[in-house]
Protein backbone atom coordinates (compact mmCIF):
# COMPACT_ATOMS: atom_id res chain seq x y z
CA UNK A 1 0.00 0.00 0.00
CA UNK A 2 1.43 3.44 -0.85
CA UNK A 3 2.36 5.67 2.06
CA UNK A 4 -0.30 8.39 2.65
CA UNK A 5 1.47 11.52 1.46
CA UNK A 6 0.33 15.15 1.66
CA UNK A 7 2.38 17.98 0.14
CA UNK A 8 1.00 21.50 0.13
CA UNK A 9 2.46 24.88 -0.80
CA UNK A 10 0.17 27.55 0.59
CA UNK A 11 -0.01 31.16 1.70
CA UNK A 12 -2.20 30.46 4.74
CA UNK A 13 -1.03 29.17 8.09
CA UNK A 14 -1.43 25.50 8.99
CA UNK A 15 -2.89 23.79 12.07
CA UNK A 16 -0.28 21.38 13.42
CA UNK A 17 -2.72 19.40 15.60
CA UNK A 18 -5.18 19.02 12.73
CA UNK A 19 -2.44 17.80 10.39
CA UNK A 20 -1.24 15.19 12.90
CA UNK A 21 -4.83 14.06 13.52
CA UNK A 22 -5.44 13.73 9.77
CA UNK A 23 -2.36 11.52 9.48
CA UNK A 24 -3.09 9.22 12.43
CA UNK A 25 -6.92 9.03 12.51
CA UNK A 26 -8.16 5.44 12.33
CA UNK A 27 -4.64 3.99 12.18
CA UNK A 28 -3.50 1.31 14.59
CA UNK A 29 -0.13 0.74 12.88
CA UNK A 30 1.45 4.09 13.79
CA UNK A 31 3.56 4.06 16.95
CA UNK A 32 5.55 7.27 16.44
CA UNK A 33 4.88 10.72 15.01
CA UNK A 34 7.61 13.35 14.72
CA UNK A 35 6.90 16.90 13.63
CA UNK A 36 9.23 19.72 12.74
CA UNK A 37 7.89 23.26 12.58
CA UNK A 38 10.06 26.02 11.14
CA UNK A 39 9.13 29.42 12.60
CA UNK A 40 10.04 32.96 11.51
CA UNK A 41 12.55 34.52 13.95
CA UNK A 42 12.47 38.18 14.95
CA UNK A 43 16.23 38.56 14.56
CA UNK A 44 19.03 37.17 12.41
CA UNK A 45 22.74 37.67 13.23
CA UNK A 46 21.70 40.39 15.68
CA UNK A 47 19.59 42.26 13.08
CA UNK A 48 15.97 42.95 13.92
CA UNK A 49 13.68 41.26 11.37
CA UNK A 50 10.26 42.81 10.68
CA UNK A 51 9.06 40.07 8.33
CA UNK A 52 10.12 37.52 5.72
CA UNK A 53 8.60 37.28 2.26
CA UNK A 54 8.99 33.87 0.65
CA UNK A 55 9.03 33.56 -3.13
CA UNK A 56 8.74 30.09 -4.69
CA UNK A 57 8.78 28.38 -8.08
CA UNK A 58 5.21 27.09 -8.48
CA UNK A 59 5.14 23.56 -9.85
CA UNK A 60 8.81 22.88 -9.16
CA UNK A 61 8.43 23.42 -5.39
CA UNK A 62 5.81 20.64 -5.22
CA UNK A 63 7.80 18.40 -7.60
CA UNK A 64 11.10 18.83 -5.73
CA UNK A 65 9.54 18.19 -2.31
CA UNK A 66 7.73 15.19 -3.84
CA UNK A 67 11.03 13.70 -5.05
CA UNK A 68 12.54 13.94 -1.55
CA UNK A 69 9.34 12.57 0.01
CA UNK A 70 9.54 9.55 -2.33
CA UNK A 71 13.18 9.03 -1.37
CA UNK A 72 12.32 9.23 2.35
CA UNK A 73 9.59 6.60 1.84
CA UNK A 74 12.14 4.32 0.16
CA UNK A 75 14.78 4.78 2.86
CA UNK A 76 12.58 4.44 5.95
CA UNK A 77 9.47 2.37 6.76
CA UNK A 78 7.12 5.35 6.98
CA UNK A 79 3.39 4.98 7.60
CA UNK A 80 2.50 8.56 6.61
CA UNK A 81 4.08 11.87 5.67
CA UNK A 82 2.84 15.48 5.51
CA UNK A 83 4.91 18.43 4.27
CA UNK A 84 3.50 21.97 4.15
CA UNK A 85 5.55 25.02 3.12
CA UNK A 86 4.14 28.54 3.21
CA UNK A 87 4.92 31.39 0.82
CA UNK A 88 4.20 35.10 0.90
CA UNK A 89 4.77 37.52 3.81
CA UNK A 90 5.38 35.91 7.19
CA UNK A 91 5.98 37.81 10.44
CA UNK A 92 8.14 36.75 13.43
CA UNK A 93 6.45 34.01 15.45
CA UNK A 94 4.49 32.70 12.48
CA UNK A 95 4.92 29.22 11.04
CA UNK A 96 6.90 28.74 7.81
CA UNK A 97 7.20 25.00 7.27
CA UNK A 98 5.79 21.76 8.69
CA UNK A 99 7.13 18.22 8.31
CA UNK A 100 5.18 15.39 9.96
CA UNK A 101 6.51 11.84 9.73
CA UNK A 102 4.69 8.77 11.05
CA UNK A 103 6.07 5.28 11.50
CA UNK A 104 5.68 2.19 13.64
CA UNK A 105 8.80 3.14 15.62
CA UNK A 106 10.50 6.43 16.50
CA UNK A 107 13.86 5.95 14.77
CA UNK A 108 12.42 6.06 11.22
CA UNK A 109 10.17 9.01 12.06
CA UNK A 110 13.04 11.06 13.60
CA UNK A 111 15.52 10.30 10.83
CA UNK A 112 13.08 10.88 7.95
CA UNK A 113 12.00 14.25 9.40
CA UNK A 114 15.63 15.42 9.70
CA UNK A 115 16.49 14.12 6.21
CA UNK A 116 13.49 15.91 4.69
CA UNK A 117 14.27 19.24 6.37
CA UNK A 118 17.95 19.08 5.34
CA UNK A 119 16.97 18.45 1.70
CA UNK A 120 14.16 20.96 1.74
CA UNK A 121 16.45 23.75 2.94
CA UNK A 122 19.12 23.01 0.34
CA UNK A 123 16.97 22.06 -2.66
CA UNK A 124 13.34 23.22 -2.49
CA UNK A 125 12.97 26.31 -4.72
CA UNK A 126 12.06 28.95 -2.12
CA UNK A 127 13.80 32.27 -1.51
CA UNK A 128 13.47 34.45 1.57
CA UNK A 129 13.52 38.23 1.43
CA UNK A 130 14.08 39.84 4.82
CA UNK A 131 12.44 43.11 5.87
CA UNK A 132 14.13 45.19 8.57
CA UNK A 133 14.32 48.81 9.71
CA UNK A 134 16.82 49.62 6.90
CA UNK A 135 14.67 48.21 4.09
CA UNK A 136 14.73 44.70 2.65
CA UNK A 137 17.28 42.28 1.21
CA UNK A 138 17.44 38.69 -0.07
CA UNK A 139 18.65 36.22 2.53
CA UNK A 140 21.94 34.55 1.54
CA UNK A 141 22.17 30.76 1.48
CA UNK A 142 24.16 29.10 4.26
CA UNK A 143 26.95 26.80 3.11
CA UNK A 144 26.19 24.51 6.05
CA UNK A 145 22.73 23.84 4.53
CA UNK A 146 24.42 22.08 1.60
CA UNK A 147 26.70 20.23 4.02
CA UNK A 148 23.68 19.13 6.09
CA UNK A 149 22.02 17.68 2.98
CA UNK A 150 25.26 16.05 1.77
CA UNK A 151 25.72 14.00 4.95
CA UNK A 152 22.73 11.84 3.92
CA UNK A 153 24.39 10.87 0.64
CA UNK A 154 25.97 7.45 0.87
CA UNK A 155 29.56 7.24 -0.45
Amino acid sequence: MPVPLTIRIQQNDFDVAAEIAALTRGRADIGAVVNFIGICRGSDDGRHVTALTLEHYPGMAEAEIGRHADEACQRWPLAGLTIIHRHGRIEPGENIVLVVTASAHREAAFQAAEFLMDFLKANAPFWKREENAQGSAWVEAHHNDDAAAARWTKP
Binding site: P125, W127, A141
Partner: protein, 83 residues
Protein backbone atom coordinates in the same frame (compact mmCIF):
# COMPACT_ATOMS: atom_id res chain seq x y z
CA UNK B 1 12.03 27.96 -25.11
CA UNK B 2 10.54 29.60 -22.04
CA UNK B 3 13.05 31.04 -19.60
CA UNK B 4 11.94 31.95 -16.08
CA UNK B 5 13.75 33.88 -13.35
CA UNK B 6 13.31 34.01 -9.59
CA UNK B 7 14.36 36.14 -6.60
CA UNK B 8 17.29 38.50 -7.26
CA UNK B 9 17.90 37.06 -10.73
CA UNK B 10 14.33 38.13 -11.63
CA UNK B 11 14.79 41.55 -10.02
CA UNK B 12 18.11 42.26 -11.76
CA UNK B 13 16.81 41.25 -15.20
CA UNK B 14 13.55 43.08 -14.58
CA UNK B 15 11.24 40.34 -15.82
CA UNK B 16 9.87 37.05 -14.51
CA UNK B 17 9.86 35.15 -17.79
CA UNK B 18 10.44 35.41 -21.52
CA UNK B 19 10.51 33.20 -24.59
CA UNK B 20 13.84 33.09 -26.42
CA UNK B 21 15.33 31.09 -29.26
CA UNK B 22 19.09 30.80 -28.60
CA UNK B 23 21.37 29.87 -31.52
CA UNK B 24 22.32 26.20 -31.99
CA UNK B 25 25.85 26.84 -30.69
CA UNK B 26 24.28 27.32 -27.24
CA UNK B 27 24.25 23.68 -26.14
CA UNK B 28 24.45 23.62 -22.35
CA UNK B 29 23.02 25.49 -19.37
CA UNK B 30 26.42 27.14 -18.94
CA UNK B 31 26.43 28.21 -22.62
CA UNK B 32 22.97 29.70 -22.14
CA UNK B 33 24.13 31.71 -19.11
CA UNK B 34 27.02 33.09 -21.19
CA UNK B 35 24.68 33.94 -24.08
CA UNK B 36 22.11 35.61 -21.81
CA UNK B 37 24.83 37.63 -20.04
CA UNK B 38 25.59 39.35 -23.36
CA UNK B 39 22.00 40.45 -23.98
CA UNK B 40 22.37 43.70 -22.01
CA UNK B 41 23.51 45.38 -18.82
CA UNK B 42 20.70 43.94 -16.70
CA UNK B 43 21.56 40.39 -17.83
CA UNK B 44 25.29 40.97 -17.31
CA UNK B 45 24.49 42.13 -13.75
CA UNK B 46 22.22 39.12 -13.04
CA UNK B 47 24.76 36.60 -14.33
CA UNK B 48 27.93 38.39 -13.12
CA UNK B 49 28.72 35.53 -10.71
CA UNK B 50 27.72 32.30 -12.51
CA UNK B 51 28.74 30.20 -9.47
CA UNK B 52 25.90 31.85 -7.52
CA UNK B 53 23.32 30.86 -10.16
CA UNK B 54 21.30 27.66 -9.94
CA UNK B 55 19.32 26.25 -12.86
CA UNK B 56 16.42 23.89 -13.49
CA UNK B 57 15.17 22.31 -16.71
CA UNK B 58 11.49 21.41 -16.73
CA UNK B 59 11.37 21.79 -12.94
CA UNK B 60 14.34 19.56 -12.10
CA UNK B 61 17.69 20.88 -10.82
CA UNK B 62 20.48 20.67 -13.42
CA UNK B 63 24.22 21.43 -13.60
CA UNK B 64 25.95 23.94 -15.93
CA UNK B 65 27.14 21.11 -18.20
CA UNK B 66 23.60 19.75 -18.76
CA UNK B 67 22.43 19.95 -22.41
CA UNK B 68 19.43 22.19 -23.05
CA UNK B 69 18.16 20.34 -26.15
CA UNK B 70 14.46 19.51 -25.83
CA UNK B 71 13.91 21.75 -22.78
CA UNK B 72 10.51 23.42 -22.57
CA UNK B 73 11.23 25.60 -19.52
CA UNK B 74 14.61 26.65 -18.14
CA UNK B 75 14.78 28.48 -14.81
CA UNK B 76 17.58 30.53 -13.28
CA UNK B 77 17.63 31.49 -9.60
CA UNK B 78 19.96 32.03 -6.60
CA UNK B 79 20.82 29.24 -4.11
CA UNK B 80 17.67 28.25 -2.24
CA UNK B 81 16.86 29.71 1.18
CA UNK B 82 13.55 28.03 2.11
CA UNK B 83 12.66 25.86 5.07
Amino acid sequence: MKIVYFAWVRERIGKAEETLDPPSAVRTVGDLIGWLAERGEEYAYAFAAPRSIRAAIDRTHVKPETAIAGAREIAFFPPMTGG
